[in-house]
Amino acid sequence: MTETDTERDQRADTPSGRRGSGWATLLRIGGAWARMKEASILAVTLVLFLWFFLRYPISFNSADNYHVVAQFVAPVAILAAGEVMLLICSEIDLSAGNAFAVAPLIMMLLHQDGIPMGLAVVIALACMAVVGITNGVVTVKFRVPSFVTTLGMLFFLTGVAATISHGNPISAPTEGFLPHLLGGSYWSEILWALAIIAVMHTVLVGTPFGVHAISTGGNLLGAAEAGVRVDAIKITNFAMSSVLAGFAGILDGFRITSFDPLAGGPELMFQAVAACVIGGTALLGGSGTVLGALIGATFLGILRDGLNIEGISAYTFDIILGLAIIAAMLLNVSLIRLRGRRRV
């Protein structure tokens, strides 16, 4: 049961679905497609892909280059999967990029003290769960805006990362099963990212938890009135965001064989939020899409990589990225209006 299933059923069931010449069918399919939350960004991403594909058939269209894109997309998409769930609840996690840096450092320090790698990973992620739960409890129980709670956590974790690593990167082990599984193998990181996206998408569109998250963001009082445990939902999502970000940090470090206390940070976190927004998740709460966040991350990855091949500087890239985010938001808003009109 996915959103797309619903859309498909809808096409078949609505009265207009039963009559139809070829044109009507075409219009209807086009209309249903345009109503999909992810449609506009998917189209834009495909166009962008084709553009670079046709322009640079050799340098862009190669396994190595796709790997470069995947390296960028994977951590952004994993962080975005956590952020989407929070944005849907009308919250945000500004500290995710720092959980990304801290978790692998905790893991490595434990490992250096003789704790097996597998256990070290579990403990590091448990620490991130504590970080997320702290974000959540402070936010919902003490009614501190999550923007402030997680801003504080951002600086706190920055300090923790610098302190426990003494400011130096720690090199990652390259031998063994776990380092290979967790990011070391060539395509490992992006496969993890896709798996995480698939799970989170299913959670959002296919389970009561997803429905409750949407109701928490869409109508906090009403959801609480209906008995939805809004506080627990939010705290869980904060915990998931921190754990996912920490896990992404572990994957990324094993890939580049080094864990840097300055890795990730606000820049990665904001790229993840940008991926969510470009993918069709408004910062208004009550709606959002995990799949869109993946497509948004892919859009950013292709854009960055393609402009690199073009020889455009990183400075220019940020200008284009900034404009792309605002344009995506505008498109998203007008598409929501379009969907609204068509349905009634």
Binding site: M1, D9, T14, T207, P208, F209, V211, G218, G340, V344
Partner: protein, 262 residues
């Protein structure tokens, strides 16, 4: 006062809910002095009263949000001390507030099942198709007209939203339904949707409805009985058939004049 005007205040066995001598103060402000009222199964009681008369305090006591200082609430013949909103709901008391109960960005059928989703237990996956069919059937049964149960709530009119909130409460096994100004901010056409729904529920006869409203025409139209809450007391209790809009207007304005004189 209750004695001359009232038809009956004596407890009847099939009363779904009975409020006995309930008082509630907030600091030095006495919100409810002593409230006695009762609603039988299958009956619609209209509650009128000025702003500040204590209606919302009474509502909050009946939904378990506040606890009375003294007196008791009797549900289906059993005196109960409601601990919480969810406890009240377990007792079969469901409240519908103006525009509060539905989630704009979720489809109608999910709203109908909010927090009571059907799933493939023990797996946590939603049975969307069954929820859609059930929601459609329930809305058809109650005569609530919605173009498509997959429409997001935000695309519906105020009357439709309210009707869906009421329908959800009814299908949540509510035996006592509290409607807090269900017609506020609604046009005549919109109000008809809700009034028809209340009438249909009365015909079914398995649910007790307490409805707070300002429009006396509508109260006399759909309610079996009318109570007036003034200064924290029920000062008027009559069958709707035995009173009229004019009488209600007269009582309320008389009270207003007395209040000004005193």
């Amino acid at each position: 006062m209750t004695d001359d005007d009232g038809v009956t205040s004596a407890p009847v066995p099939d009363d779904a809910i009975r409020v006995e001598h309930v008082a509630k103060s907030f600091g030095s402000v006495r919100a409810l002095a002593e409230v006695n009222l009762h609603v039988a199964k299958g009956e619609v009681l209209g509650l009128i009263g000025d702003n500040g008369a204590g209606k919302s305090t009474l509502m909050k006591i009946l939904t378990g949000y506040h606890r009375p200082d003294s007196g008791q609430v009797v549900v289906h013949g059993e005196p109960v001390r409601m601990r919480s909103v969810s406890h009240a709901r377990e007792l079969g008391i469901e409240a519908v507030y103006q525009d509060l109960a539905v989630v704009d960005t979720l489809p109608v059928y999910i709203n109908m099942h909010l927090n009571k989703e059907l799933r493939y237990s023990p797996l946590p996956f939603l049975r969307r198709r069954e929820m859609r069919e059930r929601a459609r059937r329930q809305l058809d049964d109650m005569g609530v007209n919605v173009p498509d149960v997959r429409s997001e709530i935000r695309l519906l009119s105020g009357g439709q939203r309210q009707a869906i909130a009421v329908a959800r409460s009814v299908y949540a096994d509510a035996s006592i339904l509290l409607l807090d100004e269900p017609l506020a901010a609604m046009g005549a056409k919109e109000s008809t949707i809700i009034l028809d729904l209340v009438r249909r529920l009365r015909e079914r006869g398995d649910i007790a409805i307490l409805m707070i409203a300002h429009n006396y025409h509508q109260i006399v139209d759909v309610c079996d009985r009318v109570n007036l809450l003034q200064h924290g007391r029920i000062t008027f209790d009559k069958r709707a058939a035995e009173t009229s809009v004019d009488e209600l207007m007269e009582i309320v304005s008389r009270e207003y004049r007395l209040g000004r004189a005193g």
